[in-house]
């Protein structure tokens, strides 16, 4: 068993206190370094964003550090709403200082005086725990000021520009990019937005160095990673493992495999926006590059397993309902497209579909993907298009008044 880095204090059974956490050693070190040195360290560690896109954190910080304009802001994306994902909340509830110390170091690197943790509104307990931990650490991280800011139930506010709009007190509609938040972010000031897990990697990197960090994970994706496994498995679970662990290991060794007598039919490897893989594709290493090569993505590393008792038309209906509900409504392809596809999936399940319906699905998945404004609908249609291609038989079973016979 490899050494635990991000989840080392999780076995305590309660939020780690400042003393249990072991003090802010990385922060002491960072404070003695020039901001530029802190930045270079994280850059050299090749830390990639854990929020979905895998963007190099050091590069993002450098853009913001070099951007003209003051003050600068650091925002932690704790909106965690991607279906199948429950990793950030574990850090916030069980080891809040890991995040706070990482944010203090990051703020020093980019020259930010104020930081916000934008946490989804439903995470009431995590927000309380964070506030208490910030109180404990206030003197230590001063003059850096850190605040918890609760959202109010909107998946789109996880998209970084929608998050900034929301933080400014507006509806969560994404902004046109460019300009990017690193130059024009919160109140049009240079802003770094990073995921909870990304920022929680910072203190260990500073404290223990680049070489140690790069010795974990794979050559292309350094570091440890938090994985979530849920859905049709015996033992849904949450774990830390080096990047590159295979999907098969996650599902069979950690999550107990599919239920007795069942086989894995489909797996969303990184939240429901990540195109699902089939039961024959499980030997893939879970890292950014390998999943990109399989035309899917590591995304949020929220693995959702679907077994062979399920109908993929019904699964598609569930996830498209999610996107239709969470569409911010700013652009027509997403707002209407997801709704229309959802309605037609329902019709299909009710036995009211023809070959034309499938043609329409093919057309829509491409049109909405190409024409939508932000990655919400791209994710939705990317996953939907993949389901349509890989499990077409399930769709055909539903044509001409026939049902697939599975219980819904």
């Amino acid at each position: 068993m490899a050494e635990l880095v991000l989840s080392r204090n999780f076995s305590l059974g309660h939020p780690a206190t400042l003393a249990e956490y072991g003090g802010y050693r990385a922060w002491e070190k960072a404070r003695a370094m020039e901001p530029k040195q802190v930045l270079e360290t994280v850059k050299a560690a090749t830390l990639q964003g854990r929020g979905g896109a895998g963007f190099p954190a050091g590069m993002k910080w450098e853009f913001a550090a070099n951007a003209p304009g003051k003050p600068k802001f650091l925002v932690c994306n704790a909106d965690e709403s991607e279906p199948g994902t429950f990793k950030d909340v574990q850090i916030m509830e069980r080891d809040p200082h890991l995040l706070i110390e990482g944010m203090a170091c990051a703020a020093r690197a980019i020259g930010a005086e104020t930081g916000y943790i934008y946490i989804r509104g439903e995470f009431v307990r995590a927000a309380r725990i964070l506030e208490a931990a910030i109180d404990e650490a206030r003197e230590i991280i001063a003059p850096f000021r850190l605040f918890v800011h609760r959202g109010a139930g909107a998946y789109i506010c996880g998209e970084e520009t929608a998050l900034l709009e929301s933080l400014e007190g507006k509806v969560g509609e994404p902004r046109f990019k460019p300009p990017f938040p690193v130059t024009h972010g919160l109140w049009q000031k240079p802003t770094v937005v990073n995921n909870v897990e990304t920022l929680s990697c910072v203190a260990p990197i500073i404290e223990r160095g680049v070489d140690w960090w790069k010795s974990l994970g794979t050559a292309n994706s350094a570091g440890p990673k938090l994985f979530c496994v849920s859905g049709d498995v015996v033992k849904p679970c949450f774990l830390e493992a080096p990047m590159g662990i295979t999907l098969r290991e996650l599902i069979f060794e950690h999550a107990g495999g599919p239920k007795p007598g069942r086989k894995v039919k489909a797996v969303f490897p990184g939240g429901s926006s990540a195109p699902p893989l089939t039961g024959d594709e499980l030997d893939i290493p879970m890292d950014f590059k390998s999943l990109d090569a399989k035309k899917s993505m590591l995304g949020s590393a929220g693995v959702i397993v679907v077994d062979d008792s399920r109908c993929m038309v019904d699964v598609a209906r569930n996830i498209i309902h999610f996107y239709a509900h969470e569409s911010c409504g700013k652009c027509t392809p997403c707002r209407d497209g997801n709704e229309m596809v959802h309605t037609m999936l329902r019709d299909m399940l009710d036995g009211k579909a023809t070959q034309k319906t499938i043609d329409y699905f093919t057309y829509m998945s491409k049109r909405v993907f190409d024409d939508c404004f932000c990655a919400l609908a791209k994710g939705s249609m990317w996953a939907f298009g993949t389901i349509l291609n890989k499990w077409r038989d399930d769709f055909i079973l539903h044509l001409e008044g026939k049902g697939c016979g599975r219980e819904r």
Binding site: P83, A152, G153, S166, P236, N318
Partner: protein
Amino acid sequence: MSIVERAREGKASLTDPADAVRAMQEGPTAAQVSAAAKKLEPRIADLLTRYLEPRAALLPVLHLYQHEFGWIPLRVQREIAFRLSIAPADVSRVVSFYTLFHSKPCGRHVVMVCGTLSCELAGCNKVLRALKDVLGVDPHETTPDGLFTVQRVECLGWCDKAPVVQVNDGDFMEHVTPEKIKAEVKRIRG
């Protein structure tokens, strides 16, 4: 006549739970809103020191008021708009955009059942049916006594413990079964 006015005339009692629920559904009077504004002012003033612009305090302030009244009536929206120097229409738009804010009265206990994939695979529809059995309402409806609103919500971020339910601001209920949710309803009813 509102419950509060009737209470003033001794025709209703706000200590009676049923009347308290009815008062919540009617929404606060102008005097109650002013009283709440006064009470919340220190916290609102503190919030305003955190941001470059006062408008950024809108979501936190909405949370504070919703905690007071259970929902955000127009009267409260106008008070908030005034305090943050923004247009009432901007407040309304924000209230209607976010699912956790209620612009209409809802039950005293909002039962949010996660309906997204992992929870549906684990049987959330059975939980919704059990709620229909005991409360007689479908998702997004409120019981006639104003005690419960049932909602089917999207992924709560706790999927290894599916099916998941959250009641108001409470901790997540895990591995919820029809029996568990019925027992919880019974417990809340007291």
